[in-house]
């Protein structure tokens, strides 16, 4: 446990001084990269709640990411003009728009989850994928919100007069949300719900025999996960000032799964490490060759076939190796 505390402190310090490091290196693009790492880490950590803690392989988490992003975009598009459906006024306020985005994402997760969780195994994977595809094609088909070209958000949300266009400001706002979210996941894992969810993953029959309503527990986790992914989508829409069908594409769901597994399924910091590894690979392999998905695919194949536990496992093994060699 102590090694985990050390890791937490190290990550926090690194997170706080990251923009200064980037400035010192003269690479301000690193701030934007770190912002995206944190946002995807929130999404991956949300998926990890369902997939790692609960053992449900969702291939449709792009749906909640997209709902979060589009919620910000659509609210902003109606800000100061005609209200949505003639009833709901648009808004540009961060503290209203982001909670609304999370609420919407959890509502969508409630609907998708309550239907999908009636199945299991391969059918669950495919039905979550199907629901995400439905939302993807919905986003593509509505011209009023950009259709397949996406929805440009002219101004980022207002938050205490901060300028969210500024990379460092957006980074610190994202960092705050990421820290809060990971603290929530940490609490969740140690809570009764976390323990019960773990039980459902390991042996559902036994949990049923103990008197738990496993369907409700799974659904609860699924909705929390949807809200978290919606938060990530809302932050992404603010960071990019853009919401597009890309956020809903099925390969985005695949990317989230990759991040979770690359980092370490079911671990607390695996999603963060996985998101960082994925985006660093994407950025640097992408700058090096336009065929960057080829090495990514090979790395992924080796990780899946050759290792169990991803980067987290590797880190603990390396740490263990050092500890054994200490006098």
């Amino acid at each position: 446990m102590t090694s985990q505390r050390v890791l937490i402190v190290l990550i926090l310090i690194l997170g706080c001084i990251w923009p200064m490091i980037a400035n010192a290196l003269g690479q301000t693009a690193l701030v934007g990269l770190a912002t995206r790492v944190l946002i995807y880490a929130i999404a991956a950590a949300s998926l990890n709640i369902v997939m790692g803690f609960g053992g449900m392989v969702s291939f449709g988490h792009a749906a909640f990411f997209g709902v979060g992003g589009y919620a910000i975009g659509i609210l902003a598009a109606h800000h100061g003009t005609d209200p949505l459906f003639g009833l709901i006024p648009g808004t540009n306020a961060f503290l209203i728009a982001v909670p609304v985005a999370m609420l919407l994402a959890s509502a969508v997760a409630l609907i998708i989850g309550s239907l999908s969780l009636r199945t299991g195994g391969a059918q669950f994977i495919m039905i979550t994928l199907a629901f995400a595809q439905i939302l993807f094609f919905l986003a593509v088909s509505i011209k009023a919100y950009g259709g397949d070209e996406g929805l440009v958000i002219r101004r980022p949300n207002e938050l205490f007069g901060l300028n969210l266009r500024d990379r460092a400001t957006m980074y610190y706002v994202t960092l705050m949300f990421a820290v809060a979210f990971f603290a929530m996941v940490w609490r969740l894992r140690r809570s009764t719900l976390g323990a019960v969810l773990n039980g459902v993953r390991q042996n559902e029959r036994r949990m049923v025999a103990l008197g738990y309503n496993t369907y409700a527990i799974r659904l609860y986790a699924f909705v929390i996960s949807g809200a978290g992914t919606g938060l990530a989508g809302a932050l992404m829409a603010n960071a990019l000032r853009f919401a597009s069908p890309d956020m809903l594409h099925w390969t985005k769901s695949g990317d989230f799964i990759i991040m979770v597994v690359l980092g370490g399924l079911g671990t607390l910091f695996g999603p963060l490490l996985g998101s960082a590894a994925f985006l660093v690979l994407e950025t640097y392999l992408g700058a090096w060759t336009q065929y960057w998905q080829l090495p990514l695919g090979l790395i992924l194949l080796v990780v899946v076939l050759g290792t169990k536990g991803g980067i987290m496992r590797l880190l603990t093994q390396v740490a263990g190796w050092f500890v054994r060699r200490l006098p």
């Binding site: 391969a122 059918q123 039905i127 439905i134 065929y291």
Partner: protein
Amino acid sequence: MLLILEQLLNGLQYGVTLFLLAAGLTLIFGIMGVINLAHGSLYMIGAFVGVYFGAMTESFVLGMIAAILGGAAAGLALEALVVRRLYARDHLDQVLATFAVILIANQVIVLLFGRQPLFAPIPEALSRSIDLGAGLQYPAYRLFVIAAGLGVAALLYVLINRTRVGMLVRAGSTNRDMVRALGVNIRALYTAVFVLGAVLAAFAGFVSGPIYSVEAGMGERIILATFVVVVVGGLGSIRGAFIAAMVLGMIDTLMRGVLPELMRLVLPPSEADALSAGLASMGIYLVMALFLLVRPQGLFASGN
């Protein structure tokens, strides 16, 4: 009326293409328990190998033979290198590993052939329209695809229901542990089934070449629809896959054909086109979601 009839034939043609893919996919799931996302890559490889050799030899038939051989070789390699290690793994590992294979296959195709679609010519003998009576002119090539697809389906039926290998396949999809316990060489059976699926996918890719475009990523456009077919038909059931492929192929094509006309009645043309294209693409997923709520196991559930 003529339009609807033509759309029904188009739906039939799309349906048999879906069936060729779904048959392999459902067998691979039913017998080995593997979710193979990379099945679309085999479809793509078949199209590229076939069209490339077809252009080189200037022969459609030789191209088709090359596509089938290429599909078999790719299937053998994929099974030996990747899929064999996934039999004992959970669905998550299978999804991820085969997703990685998609990334690799697409990039290799881009490296070899570039991003431009490959031109796939229709053979001379089939490049005309046939009068089906009542004034309906229908392209001979699409009729050929329908006939070829139904022919392969019939062959598959005979193979599965009338031969010894087919008996093992049926037994395997009902209870694979029992088949293993009875002393069948299960590894050889797995390889054979995977290669059979690969050949069917490659064949589908090759004959679809002149109809859809032959380019990197073409597999993903059809593989999700194929999964819908497999899940609706019941994982592991070829009969279910056939019925689901036909019905979903028709529904999808009819929606694409009819929706724009209906939408144009109430919306301006550009919005109507975007909305109806989206709704039509959504159609099969909606059908699947609704269908699974009524029958979570699909049309015909297999034993596993």
